[in-house]
Symmetry: D2
Subunit: 408 residues, 4 copies
């Protein structure tokens, strides 16, 4: 693999510096699909709660790359067992794992026929600037990078680095989102975790002496979910986006002039898979400009919802504990002159900080290396994690709806 002339470094508040000395990494960073990530926020609607959560998937992707780079260079046994090609492949998978994201993250997937993971793989494998950079290095590189992202690389540890339970992706975003929201919930001791990770029998494990750091990391995840990612005000913003996109798709079926009003959304409204070029063009700048066009357009619902999104006239919310709790909401919304199909939104969220065996035995557990050399699943080694795993964690149901009629 070709090295850069000198080590490139980029100042980063989470990692001190991001270090790049592989030419292919540098070229991918400068590719237009990667630069586009500067125009996709990391945290959807969370800036509506934490006003400084304005960071993008660009810096997060660099951070994931940096953690993978340290892992493949520092973890005993792992660093010796991977060759240069495999190390760079893992770093590229870390760097590119979010390249297929559309605007506003999860809400956008409501109109898109493909999920962001599918777009990520398509961008890597199809006719993109990223693809050509990878292919020029080695014809197998695109599919090898993609195989890590789909958790199908034949070397289990390669998959675990990027998307296990103790992976570079989660470790970067917890620290980064904590920093940019200004909360302390997401903090844990990354240095200590990296120092206590080992590879045993081709699997990433953490030494028993690092178990308290891992417990801290599990709790960080738990708190960040409730305090940041699932915050009802952020969900309210995403609810507005979801019902707006639903409205646009409904309009498309009866009046395709919507495609001229907001051409950036057009390729996504038919229900068929849009091209990677269409995704490239729909960054958040385009999407936000689209909203400002809708405010001036003829459909009252799209106008009202777009105005609410741009100007933070969010829906209110109410927690639903029994079936009576939302019974009057539809009629109240109708009284305000709104159509409940778009103006009443139900949401249910739940999360467990850590669930062993959730998907498959190897990739989705955290493994602990005990002093006697045996390897056990985390909830067997940690009383705290066992308690959390067995806990009966409640689901929260909420309904979102407007409480005032806007005059536009």
């Amino acid at each position: 693999m070709q090295k850069t002339d000198e080590v490139k470094v980029m100042r980063d508040p989470i990692h001190g510096y991001i270090h790049v000395d592989e030419q292919v990494i540098w070229d991918c960073i400068n590719a237009k699909e990667f630069q586009r990530l500067r125009r996709i926020h990391q945290l959807g609607g969370d800036f509506q709660v934490y006003h400084t959560a304005e960071h993008t998937r660009f810096s997060h992707s660099l951070g994931v790359y940096e953690i993978v780079r340290r892992m493949v260079g520092e973890i005993p046994h792992l660093k010796e067992s991977l060759n240069e090609y495999e190390k760079v492949t893992a770093m590229l998978a870390g760097l590119l794992h979010d390249i297929g994201h559309g605007p506003f993250s999860h809400a956008f997937e409501g109109i898109s026929a493909l999920k962001h993971e599918e777009y990520t793989v398509k961008i890597i494998l199809e006719n993109s600037e990223i693809h050509h950079i990878l292919e020029a290095v080695d014809p197998n590189l695109p599919k090898d990078v993609a195989s890590i992202i789909t958790y199908q690389h034949p070397k289990e540890c390669m998959n675990q680095l990027v998307s296990g339970q103790l992976d570079a992706d989660r470790m970067d975003y917890l620290l980064r989102d904590a920093y940019f929201t200004g909360t302390s919930y997401g903090n844990f001791d990354l240095e200590r975790i990296l120092r206590t990770i080992r590879m045993v029998d081709g699997r990433i494990v953490v030494k028993e002496s690092g178990i308290h750091s891992v417990e801290d990391y599990i709790m960080a995840r738990y708190h960040m979910y409730w305090q940041v990612y699932l915050h009802p005000v952020a969900r309210s913003y995403e609810a507005l986006l979801t019902v707006l996109f639903k409205r646009l798709k409904d309009l498309y079926r009866i009046d395709t002039s919507i495609c001229e009003a907001v051409p950036m959304f057009a390729p996504f409204l038919s229900g068929e898979a849009a091209s990677i070029e269409a995704l490239y063009e729909l960054d958040e700048a385009a999407a936000l400009y689209g909203l400002s066009c809708l405010i001036k357009w003829k459909d009252d619902i799209a106008k009202d919802l777009s105005y609410r999104i741009l100007n933070r006239k969010l829906f209110e919310y109410k927690t639903i504990r029994n079936s009576e709790d939302d019974k009057d909401i539809i009629s109240e919304v109708e009284k305000l002159g709104y159509n409940p199909e778009y103006y009443v939104f139900h949401d249910a969220v739940s999360q467990t900080p850590y669930s062993p065996y959730a998907r498959n035995e190897n990739g989705h557990n955290i493994w602990v290396l005990e002093k006697d050399g045996s390897v056990v699943e985390l909830s067997k080694a940690s009383d705290i994690v066992k308690a959390l795993t067995n806990a009966d964690l409640k689901e929260e149901k909420k309904v979102y709806y407007p409480v005032e009629h806007l005059v536009l």
Copy 2:
């Protein structure tokens, strides 16, 4: 003044929390002109150097408000000498001082007939949501707020709070920009400065015991200017914006179809002052979408420059120490097939960390209250500041130009 039902707080990494308990402040924050600041980055092109510098004028404006709020509530003599109306007026001036910014800050002023300060005043005084909120509280409130922003309020201390040499604006942005770039240069001891500020004879002064904190703040300014605000890579991005805007104005004179291609820029191309509605609509989302439209448009220069801006194909730069240093650049640029009128950009920057008497005696000096009760200008009280003030600080001249021809 009407209070909010309860104190509203917003988590902020710089100040811990932003506290709001005045209804008019809360209403202004929720006005559409203020919410638009979420779509204007604080630091123009600096995210090209420091990839996490993605924060916006929204959070900075809240921060300035918070510092003014603390000043009028905590500084001895000041807090007693201002009435409630004056305190809220000062807080509003802090909150709204940047409301007139266009996209990409300074580069944009190259095409705009009005400066951002002029738009700020117009938004406060004319037909805007902000104006109506202020006017409803007191018919004089809009002009009183504006008078602070233009440094013309009859009470000198009111002007100093927001735009003196030791003002809430600079104190917030140094700390905030340091945090979001991940550098340590902008740090200084805000708590200690706030604790040692006093009001003497209607003027903001700092006690002698706070002089080292002020020296530290002056040095923070110096370092942030060279390391962040005037960084040549950020200037290269702004150079591209400047020559693109120049191209758009030149095109407008010969072919007004440019107005259909990028309607968001149209009101600013004629050279006449655009309305505050036109400014409202030209946020950075609109401007970035405009660039993506220009990439597909017919003019090769606008296409090339827009592509460079969106995809970080920046101009290189060279420091000019004598007149020989740039003599071959024009011909080299021409050899690449580019028009030097748009592809060679000269820039000269300089800064002094602190210049007493730079504008007028009262507002633009920092005053020190000595132990014997006398008040002297800072460079008389601090050996370090005196040395800096007398230093022969050099101007840096650079030329920016492309080194490759892009094939689009």
Copy 3:
């Protein structure tokens, strides 16, 4: 209560500043019994693991005072319900709660007939500089301060401030010990907890919106216990102190010349309660000097143990999981030529992060104020805390012993 001429402030890394404006607080800080706390480390043997854990009970005591000061000045309902005298009493209790500590914290209590809490009360009530300062303000002040420290103040909330489950003492030491060890385990969001505390029916409660901060605080306690307070290397240091003190008491019974060799320890060797003057004189400087005297004294065991303590020749340790695990240790220690009575030390530690009803209903639970106005015990309101409370948390047994014979 008499105010100081101006607010005294002391820079503090945890709280920014410690603020003092009550003369009696200032006088107590300057009393010789309080200044002595500068010579008592906060964390016993932890500096043997975390070399920067060199902070003292002096700064911790100021920190507890500062949190109490903020609580009685900021918490809604509480601040209105306490009069000036009660507020100052609570602040004094926070300031003075650790005044009776001997050297090396817990190990010392092995030779002392009185616990540190008993000495604290005696210093406040008997013939000390502190006592005279308090008494001069109000003859009831000494006993009122003492009643909070013994959790017997008639106003329940006064007791809770200083020694409940969510008290100023724990909140300061978790943050402070995390800072000075350089670990991140003890961090939690103090500001948010302070903002969500209320008083309801004379009891300190935390609003439901602060529940995640409290969960974070509970986990901080859990992690600090295992990673810092109960760290086996720190316990090994304390084991050495414990067996040395046992040796000194045993020697005293057969040869009182030990009293001339180490006069500072003499008053504590008989088994009777020593005076507060004797405690005053036995700070850690005296105790460490005593160890250096014992190194030159005639008893081989005292000499060896003192040498080990001063020069970090700690005992090794072994975890005991079943009764076989320590069976050979006594004979191995004897083979090294050591007396197992002093050279084999068994230790068992366990901890639960939070145990409702552990002592009594009111003081030792954390109470949550739900949105409907009801108050419930924390483990009823938090799934996580409920899981931790029900968890079967293991006790750890270890044996400590030397592995080399020192030649002195």
Copy 4:
């Protein structure tokens, strides 16, 4: 050189971790002379101003070692030009450079015939545990380590690492003292300085791109001197120590029974050089215990001064601007019943943040590597440093004296 079995790491708030993988380093850390540094505070009397400044020379010495370790392992050209033996020698010099310190740093040198640097060299070269550890590795190692500490190593860069103008000693103590005082003055960007250091022609230089970090470091030094190291309250504490030591030496000449009262001070009172064993035994625990003995002894002056030191009854101070300013002080002190010879103390302090050529050309300048490859002295390359170097920085004169007569 023998490596340790595995890398030993110690958590450190300044450097994250201290890493040790050389056996000789590990053995020196565990030697009794090095462990003694846990009983010598880093900052003399500064804990009287900044109550958390309770850290010791033990952690500072580890920090200096860690920076040297990084320098010899990371700096381009330097790392290739030193062999293993030289690298370890440099690390040892960093680790051991403060091993000869007595209690209370500078004040103690008033009674000691030797300076701490001289004791450091004696401990390394004579009959100490440290010496034997070094000698066992290589008979030349003691003198090679000592040669760096005396700035006489034949390789100039080796001297610069530990005691140049941009050395590991200063860089650690500025950051560490800032952290433990809780001030922000000492902060600068260590990572960036380490990244921009190079070796050119056997000399340590800093690249032009690192010049702003170095300016920041110079200012950090300036502010730490005035705000911490030369703070008048800390000086007042040191003044008390100085006049007490003067009293002890005067007493020794007339009555050697002082040697029985405070045997730990005895070897230092005659004016002859005390042995390294005597220095070993006089740690701060012994010295503080000595003060408590003096409080009970017969000499009223020693009693009073010792009481003042232990219980923070400091001298007041007055700035002297002209010869009239202190004229009445002697008579006022006499009126209080005190002997002015011990109770009036004059002090003059001044400092320049950076003085080129102060001692010799190579070692005591900071050198800048310009982009064209030339090397210039810092004040030639930095306008700010040039201004500071030329500044007329004032000397501050103060007189310290008691304002109350203590009744003991």
